[in-house]
Amino acid sequence: MSSSASTGRGGQGAALSLVFRRQAAAAGRDPGPFFVLPAMPALLMTVVFTALFDRISEVPGYDGGDYDAFLIPGVVVLVALLGAGATSTSVAADLRSGYFDRLRLLPPPPVTQLIGRLLFEAVRLLPGTVAVLALGFLFGGQNRNGMAGLAAVVVLVCLLGVAYSGVFYAVAIRTQDPQTPFQLQPLGLPLAFLSTALVPLAVMPTWAETLARYNPVTPVVDASRGALLGDLWSHELLVALAVLAGVIVVTQALAWRALHSHLAGS
């Protein structure tokens, strides 16, 4: 009994690792959209916004401290939002080509296909996150918590990437359109801008402030900012992790449901 259960788990792990490795190999062949693209907007914003909008800190009521130091931990989180969901392309392509049906005939449950890719989705954001942090420190970023602070930021970005990809998966499964990441790209902009990633709530007009307050990206950004500029183990980090866990459950439920109804319908 116990031995068969453990081989079951081993088989599951092996299947996940196969899906992960297939996705990683595909990304290696086409590094642009997987590794380079997610970092590009954040890198551009780092250079441009620190220069152009520095004086936002002179606005009456601004409470964010030095603006460059404020911006960097926010902008790095955007790596997960602008350029997200690249792996949903292969989900759509596999469903459309019938390759998914072939995979379904194998013992691992279909969601293995999603989880394996999601794991890769988290890992692929690492190079971009590191690049943005490195450039950010050149452009006035600060870090009071050493490696632990950096590690916390990286974990937050990767988890947000996983949470946000669920939306892409749900859409990709329904439309079977490999262009999904391209189509949904504009969605990342309001999520990024209408959060505390770029400026504190205090300097936003009321409509923007209200939206930013309820934007799930805001607690993640606040935790990232806390990890670099405040106390590492703040309650903001706990809130962020709780929010991320919640969002992951919701978006994955959407994706799994889409997959389930697709498979049931086919």
């Binding site: 909008f53 936002i56 770029l198």
Partner: protein, 261 residues
């Protein structure tokens, strides 16, 4: 029929066909560039709008400063539409079909570019109206508004030259699409969002030498007060130079493509 009249007539036929196709595809041709430009302006207004409350801001509000840029932004975010169409025609063999007709191939290209110019009017006007509704200044009434839209048309012709060149030189849709984000550094390193005196020195230098800046400054001067004819002259010259270079090279590739290969 005399050759010049024939040229204009053929151009008109291609213009009409391209226009009909675009109207059938209005979402991509007209609505998307309008909405995307409005969307970006509104987002930046929501995030950085209050920078206008700091001392030294040259206008009353943030929207006064960015509205003219927003109008031109609609040209940038919608660029490459007819160049992509030309590429599709080349791939599908439709261009071959037209090549076999006695029409001048240059009239075919000119008809498409003419439509690209006309298309710019719709998003540019749309963004301008939204900006005015958001409270942007327009001190020169309807003539001023028409002037800014005309600048957008000129920018559209010149900027799309890059897309025609890329389409005809590479014959690759991905290469044409890949040029889309090229406008980002162009607007970011200009006076699009904030005046030059708000920038650090190196950035101000980049913005001053950016060939797009005079065009932008000219459009802004028309909306905010007296037209800056100097900036307008420099801006339009820069656009003319871009157009000459890109269409000159694109024309060569096109000539090769429309004679036997």
């Amino acid at each position: 029929m005399p050759a010049p009249r024939r040229f204009v007539r053929d151009m008109g036929l291609v213009f009409t066909r391209t226009a009909k196709e675009a109207i059938g595809n209005a979402g991509l041709a007209f609505v998307a560039p309008t909405l995307l430009a409005v969307f970006l302006i509104v987002l930046f207004q929501g995030v950085y709008g209050k920078i206008a409350d700091t001392t030294g801001w040259p206008a009353d509000q943030f929207i006064d400063w960015v509205a003219p840029g927003g109008v031109l932004l609609s040209v940038f975010v919608g660029a490459g539409y007819t160049a992509g169409g030309l590429l599709r025609d080349a791939e599908s063999g439709y261009l071959d079909r037209i090549r076999l007709l006695p029409a001048n191939p240059a009239a075919v290209l000119a008809g498409k570019v003419a439509f690209e110019a006309a298309r710019a009017v719709v998003p540019a006007t749309g963004v301008l109206l939204v900006a005015l509704a958001l409270g942007a200044d327009n001190r020169n009434g309807i003539p001023g508004a028409l002037g800014v839209v005309a600048i957008a048309v000129a920018l559209s012709v010149a900027w799309n030259g890059i897309f025609y060149l890329s389409a005809l030189a590479t014959r690759n849709h991905a290469a044409v699409l890949g040029l889309q984000p090229l406008f980002m550094p162009v607007i970011m390193f200009s006076t699009f969002w904030v005046p030059a005196r708000f920038m650090p020195g190196w950035y101000e230098a980049a913005a001053t030498w950016n060939p797009f800046t005079p065009t932008l400054d000219a459009a802004r001067s028309i909306l905010l007060g007296t037209a800056d004819w100097g900036a307008l002259g420099v801006g339009l010259s820069a656009l003319a130079a871009l157009a000459v270079v890109t269409y000159g090279l694109a024309g060569r590739h096109y000539a090769t493509a429309t004679t036997a290969d």
